[in-house]
């Protein structure tokens, strides 16, 4: 009980108060404290990377072992990861054969540029097709609110591209659509975003205080 509850609560309280107070104390000691704490935290973050890699590989090993539907795709995770690790380590990234196919001279760069960048960009670009299809099929002016949202979206979509300035030019004022878009962004959009942001910030402050003062203890985990 002492190790699982009391010590963590004391640590969180002391460090929480110190980190909070540090913000308002412009003294070399305070800066040294910040540096030390963030150094520790960054070291823990570094281990977090290993933990993430382990977790990913462990999940895919389980999938392959249980032969879950689509388990063969998990094999590609290992092929990709091992391939890039080997290319990265072999001859300091230069790889087994010279000259490498990449102008920067390493097989690792070739793998990154030709496989990761190309595949990731292609996967993301497919979103444009899904978004277009989804917007076309579902964006309906079913009531006044939806109609207003639709009108705002269409104006912003039009005003954000350069053809709007050509059309505006025909009307005698090239930037007219851009000005309408900026008005939408500066007033209704900003009002709504500010409300949401303030709500989130106040919620975060309240939750932090609850954790520092030991009212919120769910982070300690359940059970004994």
């Amino acid at each position: 009980m002492w190790y699982k509850r009391t010590i963590p609560l004391i640590l969180v309280f002391v460090l929480g108060i110190l980190a909070f107070a540090q913000n308002f104390i412009p003294h070399p000691l305070s800066e040294k404290f910040l540096k030390t704490v963030t150094d520790w935290s960054r070291i823990i973050g570094g281990f977090g990377l290993f933990l993430g890699a382990y977790s990913l590989l462990h999940m895919h090993v389980s999938r392959i072992r249980r032969q879950q539907p689509g388990w063969a795709y998990s094999g590609f995770v290992f092929i990709g990861a091992m391939g890039m690790i080997i290319l990265g380590l072999w001859n300091d990234g230069v790889g087994p054969v010279r000259p490498a196919p990449d102008p920067q001279g390493t097989w690792f760069n070739w793998g990154y540029e030709s496989i990761q960048v190309s595949c990731s960009s292609a996967m993301f670009s497919i979103l444009a097709f899904f978004m277009a299809s989804a917007a076309f099929r579902t964006f309906r002016a079913r009531n006044l609110g939806a109609a207003l949202l639709l009108a705002a979206a269409l104006i912003v979509m039009f005003g954000r591209v350069t053809v709007s300035e050509t059309v505006g030019g025909w009307l005698g004022r090239p930037k007219v659509f851009g000005e309408i878009v900026n008005a939408i962004m500066d007033y209704p959009n900003m009002a709504a975003k500010r409300g949401v942001l303030l709500g989130i910030a106040l919620g975060a402050v309240a939750q932090s205080l609850r954790i520092i003062f030991g009212i919120e203890r769910s982070y300690l985990g359940g059970g004994d």
Partner: protein
């Protein structure tokens, strides 16, 4: 009466037509030579440009490129345009990232732009005219750490050169010594740079983001927490226009306009069909 199978077939067919139209609207403008649409830079891009342009030679601009290949289309042109502007002004870019999967892109951007200037007889040397610090883990903690000691947070640069005596980092101890910081982000790192960086250590921060991420940053532009904002490919094209170096983003403006116009026409058409259907009581409207 239409069966469920018929509805599915119709839906699939409609979707395929939309896909073909979207692909055509994007690809066609790149194939037809000589099409261009004149445009002026937007206010957010202009203020961004002025912030960097006013810096005297030798100033330090911290550039945090926090994106990866999926956002390359929108943010890489911004990266290149910003580096070109820095090199043109003899300002020293200090490049870093919080996203390890983008490292190769940023190394290439720095190398390519430096080579471009070398071809013009203005050689830019890593460690002297620019620094590529690379990646370190723990985003918010890293920013706080840099607020006290940048060279401690990055003891070496990406090429394993010690930063302690690096000429490019002369006079830079912490984030307080940075003349301007730029965060190009596909995620939420702009907010982290504000909360843990610029608001706390008092340096001006400008941001560039994907088009979908720009609206959420407008409040910060208005409050002065951001001194400039570039949104999506249009933002990159604006910056290319401002530095008078039209490139890939500018050439993409016609395709972007085509895709947007197509989508507007499709949505409007579908809504007219929907409203007419409701008035006439047509099935499936």
């Amino acid at each position: 009466m239409a069966t469920h199978q018929d509805s599915l077939k119709r839906l699939t067919f409609t979707r395929q037509i939309v896909y073909v139209l979207v692909a055509t609207s994007i690809i066609l403008p790149f194939l037809i030579k000589g099409i261009s649409l004149p445009f002026e830079a937007e206010p957010g891009a202009e203020t961004f440009y002025k912030q960097l342009d006013r810096l005297p030679p030798g100033s330090h601009v911290l550039m945090s490129f926090d994106y990866d290949p999926p956002s390359k289309a929108e943010l890489y042109p911004m990266t290149v345009a910003l580096l070109r502007h820095c090199f043109e002004k003899d300002v020293i870019p200090i490049v870093m990232t919080n996203w390890p999967s983008g490292l190769g892109l940023f190394e290439k951007a720095c190398g390519d732009v430096a080579a471009e200037f070398a071809d013009k007889g203005d050689k830019k040397v890593s460690g002297t005219d620019y620094v590529f610090l690379g990646y370190r883990p723990s985003m918010s903690d890293l920013i706080l750490n840099m607020g006290v000691d940048i060279k401690g947070a990055f003891t070496t640069d990406y090429y394993k050169q010690p930063t302690a005596a690096m000429p490019a980092l002369e006079g830079v101890k912490s984030l307080r010594d940075i003349d301007l910081a730029v965060a190009l982000a596909a995620g939420n790192t702009v907010e982290l740079w504000m909360a843990y960086g610029s608001d706390r250590f008092g340096f001006p921060l400008a941001a560039g983001t994907t088009a979908i991420g720009a609206p959420k940053l407008y409040p910060f532009l208005n409050s002065g927490q951001l001194v400039g904002l570039l949104g999506g490919l249009r933002g990159a094209a604006d910056y290319e226009k401002l530095i008078e170096r039209p490139d890939i983003a500018t050439s993409g403006m016609v395709a972007l306009s085509g895709a947007h116009i197509l989508l507007i026409v499709l949505i409007l058409g579908a809504n007219i069909w929907y409203v007419v259907g409701r008035i006439t009581g047509r099935e499936g409207s």
